[in-house]
C-alpha cells in the first residue's frame, strides 16, 4: 500500500471495506506513522463536526407543505395505437383522386376547339393537354390554399391562446 494514497485510511475510518481488508490496513497502520496521523486527523475532524448536532425543523412545516401542494397533474394518456397501413392507404387514395381529376381536366381541355385545330400532331396535342391540366390543377390548389390561409391562421391563434 502506497502512503501517497490515503484512500485505504478512508476505507478503514468509514468501515467501507471487508473485514479482511480492514485488517490489512490496520496492520499497515502499525508501521506507518503518516497513515496513523491521517486516521487521527479524520477522527478529530469527525469529533469536531459532531459539535453541530442535528436540529429539528419547525413543527408547522408539514402543514405548510400540504397547503402548498400543487394539483396533481393528470396522468399522461396512453399513446394511441395507429394502424401502420392507414397512412399508406390514405396516400394511395389521394394519388388516385388527383390522377382522376387530372384525367378529367385533360379530357375537358381536349374538347376545346383550340386543341382540335392542332390536327394530326398528336404528341403536341396530348402532351400539351396533360401539361396544361396539371398546371390548372395546381393553380386551383394554390388558390384554395390562399383562400383558406386567413381562416387557418386565426384558428391556430385561437387554439394557442386557449392552451
Amino acid at each position: 500500500m502506497s502512503c501517497d494514497n490515503k484512500n485505504p485510511v478512508l476505507t478503514l475510518y468509514f468501515h467501507e471495506g471487508r473485514p479482511s481488508r480492514e485488517k490489512s490496513i490496520r496492520s499497515h497502520l502499525e508501521t506507518c506513522e503518516e497513515c496513523r496521523n491521517y486516521l487521527k486527523m479524520l477522527e478529530m475532524t469527525g469529533r469536531c463536526l459532531d459539535a453541530w448536532e442535528d436540529e429539528k425543523p419547525a413543527p408547522e412545516t408539514f402543514d405548510r407543505i400540504l397547503s402548498a401542494l400543487p394539483a396533481r397533474p393528470p396522468r399522461p394518456e396512453p399513446a394511441r395505437t395507429s394502424n401502420p397501413l392507414f397512412p399508406l392507404a390514405g396516400i394511395a387514395a389521394a394519388i388516385a383522386v388527383i390522377l382522376a381529376e387530372l384525367s378529367l381536366v385533360q379530357r375537358l381541355l381536349a374538347r376545346l376547339p383550340f386543341w382540335n385545330s392542332l390536327g394530326q400532331s398528336w404528341p403536341l396535342r396530348d402532351l400539351g393537354s396533360a401539361g396544361l391540366s396539371v398546371l390548372t390543377f395546381f393553380a386551383l390548389g394554390a388558390f384554395a390554399a390562399l383562400a383558406l390561409a386567413p381562416f387557418l391562421y386565426f384558428q391556430s391563434r385561437h387554439n394557442g391562446s386557449c392552451s
Binding site: 490515503k6 484512500n7 478512508l10 468509514f14 467501507e16 486527523m41 479524520l42 478529530m44 475532524t45 469527525g46 469529533r47 469536531c48 463536526l49 459539535a51 453541530w52 448536532e53 442535528d54 436540529e55 429539528k56 425543523p57 419547525a58 412545516t61 408539514f62 405548510r64 407543505i65 400540504l66 402548498a68 401542494l69 400543487p70 396533481r72 397533474p73
Partner: protein, 186 residues
Amino acid sequence: MDSRSDQDLIERTAQGDTMALKALYGRYEMPVYNLILRSAGNRELAQDLLQETFTRLWSMARLFDPRRGSFKSWLYTIALNLTRTEMSRKAHDMKSVSLDDIAPLHSDDPEVGAAVEREELRNEVARMLDGLPPHFREVVVLKYYHHLQFDEISRMTGVPAGTLRARFHRAVDRLRSRVRLKDFAQ
C-alpha cells in the same frame, strides 16, 4: 412509526395519498433538513428548501424508479439540487452563515453556560464548513453526517467516486488548516 417500506409509501404518494406523504415526511424530515442546513448554513433557507423538497417529491413521485437507486438517495438528490440552485442564485446577495448572527449569551447558570458553549462550537463548525467550496462541503456533509458510501454519492451527484475521495481529502486538509482542533479534542 409507519412500518410500510419507502417503496410502498412513494407508490401511494404517486397515487395522491397525502397520508403516505406525511409518513415519508416523518421519516425523512430530520435528515433532509439537516442536509440542507449544513450545506446552506442558513436555517430560514433550510426551512424553505425542506418544504420545496417535499413539494417536489409530491409532484415527481411517479418518476421514482427503484432500479436506479434507493428512495433516500433520490430524495437527497432532490434536496441537494434545490440547495445548489438556491445557493448559486443567492450567492451574491446572501450571507450564508446566518448561524453567526446569534448573539452570545452570558449567564451564571451552568446549564445555560453549557448551551452557550454548544452553540459557539456549532457556530465554529458552521464557519468551518462555510469556508469550504460547495462541492467540498457537500461530500463532507454526506460522508460525515449521513454516512453515505462514496459509490452512493457518486450515483447521486454524477461525480466519479475517485474524484469524490480526492475532494474529501482536500476538504479535510482545508478543515485542518482552518480549525483549532484542540477546541474539539475532548
